[in-house]
Amino acid sequence: MVTQTNQQCSLGCGMQLCIIPKTTFKTEYLLLTFRVPLSIDTAASYALLPSVLARGSVQYPTMQDFSLQLDTLYNAGIACSGAKLGESYLVTFQIRCLEQQCVPENENLLEQTIAVLCDLLFHPLLSETHAFLSSYVEQEKKNLIDSIRAEMNHKAGYAIKRLEREICRGEKYSISARGTPQTVAAVTPEQLYGIYCDMLAYAPLDCFYVGKQSMHEVKALLSPLCSALEKHRKLPLYQTETEVIRQAAHDVRYVEEAQAVKQSRLCIGYRSASVLGDGDFYKFALFNELLGGSASSKLFLDVREARGLCYDCASFPEANKGLLYISCGIYANDLEEAKAAIDAQLEAIRQGDITENEFSVAKKSLISGYREIEDSASALAVWYANRLFSGITTSPTETAAQVETCTREDVIACAKRVTEDTVYFMRGTLDTGEEDAEGDDDGNGNEN
């Protein structure tokens, strides 16, 4: 399949547009990212902002008005959220709607959906004192605090978050992207409005469009948004940078916490010495694929298949900050064996103990994974959103071709640069080994 190349252009005032042409999709997709610095003082506010904006605007004063309008536009979607990217924070707005030819009335839904987004973004409901409505702010604060507290519900994800915070102690990256229950609770409607004005004034805006319309057409569709934003713009715009530490600066740290769970979680964090901005990150990606990126990787085949120590054992990189994580769920008694097995697999790659088959299988798996991205509008947009910022514009298909040229030496070199930094172990207090019997207080229910 021929893939058309993406195109970028500036829309002025710190706004960039990237067009990713796709003719085969039934929907159109637009991703907008406002990039702001990651800071302990503003994290809670920026995390709160998208959900407060989604509560209502002048034209759609309630969530229900807003949802009804989107339903009428054939279930068009507007998602307001945010995420950490390296040591910056992206406030994101995503639009997805049916592409014109799929709409019975042949309407241009994208134009109408952008109009809804513009209303949310530029005409929020305000109090007389130029602040967001305190009822909306207070409620979203509560929801955000609940959601931060609920991070612990998902054990594997929570363990990785804990590891991340331990590795990056004292670095900006350890800042919780959504703030903490305390910092969220302290946000006032006035402060939040100030943060909102700052974002519109200073945050670079990148727009990613995936669909069949041309650069010219999309620019025209975005022009109401651009002119509204221009009125708020001030200079200089925010510049964000990520501090990359390429080598662990201390002996391996070991952090252990007890949790009332049946499965213990072993998570190991490394300084990867490789980031997207290096330009040859695909070499590191190949190393990761070989180590723990698939069901044919060394970790999966040894720790799970050969030793039967776990159900999940995988490695995955954080590509902007330069970290590598390994995560697996085990019996607490198997901690030493699992850790030694993981160390041995990493060491094997360093020593060049890689069979022809392992190497070619890892290559094919990674290449296939990159090619698959071409089938998903949101994955494509995210691909460019993660890279554009580091000046990288290669497409997934082009990157797949680069992987083709990688050598065993490239992979060995990546493995040698990786240094172990911190181990986080969640010790399950309900994990009593294989003979564990049922019958704790869960799941038995009581008659009412």
Binding site: K26, Q64, D71, L98, A150, S368
Partner: protein
């Protein structure tokens, strides 16, 4: 429920077409008895899914009328799904064979289906041969079964630590007296201890028959090449499929109206389960009923409903509020879920709302039309990716249905159909409230 399917002698090919969403696919009734759907699509990825119509609820069965019933340990279908990838000692297992072609394979087990799938950006045809080959040629030994047991035990523990799973099964246990839908798909650490190679072979022989399978392939392939692979890879040697599933009678009542449990979580999680006793043998009747329930639930509870917004604005629920409806020949239930600090209050609000709606029958034309638009859009977007297409098509076909007809049934639902469901489904006597509370710190 005895159903004997004899081998067809000839393969039949149909072209299915849907005018409204402008899509088509080829449906092959293969001579082996297998239903094969081929959806041609220009895409980077080709997805193939081989679904076997058996899952965790199939714990009791008879291979034919003359044999006595067999009961297998809970978790057998799922264990088999894991173990089917195995190969003889010294041979590459199925995952490794796929990987050599750069193809990722996966599998999953649901209450009613076991599915094996791959997604390929090249080598689609060799991958399809591997898929059919490994699913049709089992190989279990004492040793490989024992090793798998510890891996599955970790999987079970992982799900035990997932609070939503706990709430979900607590609800089903409170709704169902006997039906095995109440049992965890993976079984328990105790039940899987009883799974041996013999058990796996017994289950395999009962259900892994081409006539009990559906293959869907979506992507860069033609029906001709897929048919050629099926002809060469599916053996002719299968006896007629005659397995009979056995289910104990399930009362119309529920077990108990309330259940609770604890987990290490931040806020309570509420489930409200409704046992639907309006079961239909005929797949089209079942589809019609399910379509009406889906539309009704959407009107009652979606993000644009007054009810959702009222609870949200009063701070009773946050964004984590959901609803689903699951249905099969022998069971059906609706499930609402919410993360809330006031589970009792939210449950009471839902019950009050449903009773009022049943009395008032108030669904406006505007609500109905809006919902039809949402349904239409979701039908169109299910053809966005090869993987979605393959799985939607499989989900319809495995149950004896057909994707385009399902879409037509969905679009043909009337307001009167909704009222009929309103009156029958939301019976307060068949509702159970299940809450998972945060565990107090140890």
């Amino acid at each position: 429920m005895q159903k004997v399917t004899t081998m067809e002698t000839e393969t039949r090919i149909e072209t299915m077409h849907h005018d409204g969403i402008r899509e088509s696919y080829t449906r092959i009734h293969h001579k082996s008895g297998m239903t094969v759907c081929v959806l041609k699509k220009q895409a980077a990825v080709t997805t193939a899914i081989l679904g076997v119509h058996c899952g965790s609820v199939d714990r009791q069965f008879r291979v034919n009328q003359t044999e006595s019933p067999i009961t297998i340990p809970d978790g057998t279908a799922h264990f088999l799904e894991h173990k089917l990838f195995a190969a003889e000692e010294g041979e590459a297992d199925a995952i490794a064979r796929f990987a050599e072609y750069g193809v990722n394979a996966d599998a999953y087990t649901t209450p009613d289906m076991t599915a094996y799938l791959f997604s390929a950006t090249e080598n689609e045809i060799p991958a399809l041969k591997i898929l059919l080959d490994f699913v049709l040629h089992p190989y279990f030994t004492k040793e490989n079964v024992a090793r798998e047991r510890s891996i599955i035990a970790q999987e079970i523990r992982m799900y035990d630590d997932t609070p939503t799973q706990r709430g979900y099964y607590n609800t089903l246990e409170a709704l169902y007296h006997n039906h095995p839908i109440r049992i965890n798909v993976g079984g328990t650490e105790q039940s899987i201890a009883d799974i041996t190679p013999d058990v796996l072979y017994q289950f395999y022989k009962a259900f892994y028959h081409p006539a009990n399978m559906v293959l869907t392939v979506a992507g860069n392939v033609t029906p001709e090449e897929i048919l050629a692979v099926c002809d060469s890879c599916i053996p002719d040697s299968f006896p007629p499929f005659s397995t009979e599933r056995i289910f104990e009678a399930e009362p119309q009542t529920i077990v108990k109206p309330y259940a609770e449990g604890t987990a290490q979580i931040a806020s309570p999680i509420l489930y409200l389960g409704i046992k639907d006793c309006d079961l239909h043998k005929d797949p089209w009747e079942r589809e019609r009923h399910a379509a009406a329930v889906d539309i009704l639930n959407d009107i009652l509870f979606c993000k644009s409903s007054a009810f959702y917004n009222d609870l949200y604005e009063r701070g009773l629920i946050n964004g984590k509020f959901g609803f689903e409806y699951e249905h099969a020949e022998t069971y059906a239930y609706a499930l609402l879920s919410a993360e809330t600090e006031k589970p009792a209050e939210v449950a009471a609000e839902i019950k009050r709302y449903l009773s009022e709606r049943i009395r008032l029958h108030d669904i406006t034309d505007i609500q109905f039309e809006r919902c039809r638009r949402v349904m239409y859009a979701s039908a169109v977007t299910s053809f966005e990716s090869a993987e979605d297409m393959a799985s939607e098509c499989l989900n319809s076909a495995i149950d004896g249905g057909e994707l385009f007809r399902s879409i037509d049934i969905m679009m043909a639902v009337t307001k009167e159909d909704l009222f009929a469901v309103l009156d029958r489904l939301y019976d307060l006597n068949r509702m159970t409230v299940s809450v998972v509370f945060p565990k107090q710190p140890v």
